[in-house]
């Protein structure tokens, strides 16, 4: 059987045109996907059963789901400052349950954006986000800027489907309709495909953005001859290109969010784009990583008013990155339990943070053996969303789509596990109050 119009559960592109051949409840072929998406849908070795161990250095023993769930609930219910982290490679239905569980246990919920596009949200708090859906950019953009992102490696179909090579209603010649500019600290594969590559010194993007804003505002006379390693004449040339666009789009990535200045880079980039709207139409959009990391931000915002890093310890939400993000808390050694689900803190946090996680009980909910599994006391395997489970995901531009189920498995879903943990936590808390 070939299942058509399948959504890809890997990156924020959330491509929805895959064709997957399933024979005897097994994926045998994946068409139209990129190499990463195909690899994800074809699958990898699974954790076969729930496991527990008291000593993180010891071996796991297989346990029943009930035992693993009850133990997890006990740890969370008795914790004063539990961190519930991950949430990005799951569907929205389970994220809602995650917020509820966080309320129930008075913990902190934080998603993978905190090591990815968290600073982009902080930039949005400062300046907003003039953006649109990916089809808008595909149909119209004649100037395409990639800043600190490398879609060839991280979002392999992005340039083909949405941003560069695709033909649109107005941009009807595809690649030839568009001028492509890449800002980066090194000449990436994406830069190799660009019409213009601007090499910026590491950590000096902010100043380059400020200089471009000044030039766009015709106040370029104050700009010195070189900014952030870029000659002024090159900045003037690029500013003219951007100003001359009928429709300009800036895609940005972790080259901005993780470099010096962090969210201020996003703040400045949004300002540049906003100011460019005095000339043509301009938009900006973060290149989100996980296929539903955007969904977590949406769910968390409508549930709590805040986009991530929400501390529910007082019964109402408090949000303050720098204070309530995972790495803030881990580096302060405040956390007394960690619940890692649908995201791999172990593989993507700095070693010093993980070492601190090593000192507290860790519950890991994941279909696969990850680096977090190595740090865990309890491991609960679940379904792979978007392959074995239906549900909602938000593309990087905030368009939500329904993930399809391709094969049946016996594992419970994240949502089912969360439901059971919530029920058990309520039972424990109810008994003690």
């Amino acid at each position: 059987m070939i299942i058509k119009d399948v959504l890809c559960p890997f990156c924020g592109c959330l491509c929805d045109d895959l064709a997957v051949e399933v024979v005897d409840n097994k994926v045998v072929d994946v068409k139209h996907a990129c190499k990463i998406g195909a690899s994800k849908i074809r699958g990898h070795d699974r954790i076969k059963a729930p496991m527990m161990r008291d000593d993180k250095k010891g071996e796991f023993r297989e346990v029943s789901y009930d035992e693993a769930i009850n133990e997890s609930a006990k740890i969370l219910a008795n914790s004063k400052r539990p961190l519930l982290y991950g949430w990005a490679s799951g569907v929205c239905e389970m994220m809602k349950k995650g917020v509820l569980l966080t309320e129930e246990v008075g913990g902190i919920i934080d998603n993978t954006a905190s090591v990815c596009h968290g600073p982009s949200a902080l930039g949005v708090h400062e300046k907003g986000l003039p953006t649109g859906t990916l089809g808008q950019f595909a149909n119209r953009a004649d100037v395409v800027v990639f800043w600190g992102c490398n879609p060839v490696q991280a979002h392999p179909r992005h340039m083909g489907r949405y941003s560069v090579f695709t033909k649109g209603f107005f941009a009807n010649k595809g690649r030839r309709s568009r001028k492509v500019v890449v800002f980066d600290v090194r000449k990436t594969d994406t830069a190799n495909l660009a019409d213009e590559y601007v090499q910026v010194n590491p950590g000096e993007d902010y100043m380059v953005l400020s200089a471009l804003r000044a030039i766009v505002a015709e106040k370029g006379d104050v700009v010195p001859e070189t900014v952030g390693g870029v000659p002024k004449e090159k900045l003037v040339e690029v500013a003219e290109t951007m100003k001359g666009a009928q429709f300009g789009i800036v895609y940005f990535g972790m080259g901005l969010t993780q470099s010096r200045g962090k969210y201020k880079n996003i703040d400045n980039a949004v300002s540049l784009v906003t100011e460019l709207n005095a000339h043509g139409k301009h938009s900006i959009i973060p290149m989100r990583g996980h296929y539903n990391v955007t969904g977590f931000g949406q769910v968390c915002a409508w549930e709590t008013g805040f986009v991530n890093a929400v501390d529910m310890s007082r019964g109402y939400p408090y949000y303050n990155p720098g204070e309530t993000c995972s790495n803030d808390l881990l580096m302060r050694e405040e956390i007394d339990a960690a619940f890692i689900i649908a995201g791999d803190a172990g593989a993507h946090f700095p070693a010093q943070s993980i070492a601190r996680m090593g000192k507290v009980p860790v519950i890991n909910i994941d279909p696969f053996h990850s680096a977090s599994t190595e740090m865990a006391n309890i491991v609960i395997p679940t379904k792979v969303s978007g392959v074995e489970l239906e549900g909602t995901a938000y593309r990087m531009d905030g368009v939500s789509l329904r993930m399809r189920k391709l094969v049946d498995v016996d594992f419970p879903s994240d949502e089912e596990v969360l439901d059971k943990i919530i029920a058990k936590v309520q039972e424990i808390k109810g008994a003690s109050s």
């Binding site: 400052r81 008075g106 100043m207 104050v222 200045g261 100011e275 310890s313 007082r314 303050n320």
Partner: protein
């Protein structure tokens, strides 16, 4: 005059939200009454008496006549002195985040280091940090148009990034160095950095930043206005940020 002495019973690992610790909340209260006030240790409400040894000498009706002395380090107690209108708090050690947030009057002295957001959104009063301060000295909450609006913060050591973000009034003095981007998007007030800093005054609309040490990465959107003396010392004066049509004054040695 009422003097309240708090001695932490342990070094808290999990942060305690100590917004009740202020002259306004303590005025006229006995040790028992103060001990019954609740602070949250993580998600767990705990009476102050469980967390601190509490001693009260004398009595006062108003915050102005209350002095709180915290003997010991409290690097995991947040929000001390929040919203206080008068009186004094003396912290004989380090203190956690948001100390003196929304403070309106009185004096807080921190003998050790202050964690981030010291004097967040304060409108009056005085905070002295004798050690170092972390991030966002005198800044605002996320998304608020104004950070500090009035009062004075002095940091005798170094401060980290984003000093005085969105500052609308008041004065901040950093005796040591500051991290990147002090005075971001400020709309008023005065920041004096006696040591070195990086990228000061971006998007400054109004206000004054004086850097007595060296400036690394002067952001490329300031108009140089020539040499001007401040308190008898000559500085190069810049005006900007020109991108936002700013009239802020940046004095660089």
């Amino acid at each position: 005059m009422q003097t309240v002495t708090l001695v932490p019973k342990e070094q808290f690992k999990i942060s305690v939200e100590g917004e009740k610790i202020s002259p306004d909340n303590f005025a006229g209260k006995s040790a028992d009454e103060i001990g019954a006030l609740v602070a949250y240790e993580g998600n767990t409400p705990r009476p102050l008496s469980e967390l601190f040894d509490i001693k009260v000498d004398g009595r006062a009706d108003a915050a102005d006549d209350v002095k709180i002395e915290i003997n010991g380090k409290v690097p995991r107690v947040k929000r001390i002195g929040e919203g206080m209108t008068g009186g004094r708090i003396m912290i004989n050690g380090d203190v956690d985040m948001r100390c003196g947030a929304k403070m309106k009057g009185g004096i807080i002295t921190i003998k050790g280091n202050a964690d981030s957001w010291v004097g967040q959104e304060m409108t009056g009063g005085e905070i002295n940090v004798q050690g170092n301060a972390a991030f966002y000295v005198g800044a605002g909450y996320r998304g608020e148009p104004c950070g500090m609006r009035g009062g004075k913060i002095t940091v005798f050591g170094n401060a980290n990034d984003f000093v005085g973000e969105h500052m609308c009034g008041g004065e901040i003095v950093i005796k040591g160095n500051s991290g990147i981007m002090p005075g971001l998007s400020n709309k008023g007030g005065k920041i004096v950095i006696e040591g070195n800093t990086t990228m000061p005054g971006s998007e400054m609309i109004k206000g004054t930043i004086i850097v007595k040490g060296t400036v690394e990465n002067l952001i490329p959107v300031y108009q140089r206005e020539g040499i001007e003396a401040v308190d008898g010392v000559e500085f190069t004066k810049y005006v900007g940020d020109v991108v936002v049509g700013g009239k802020g004054e940046l004095f660089v040695k």
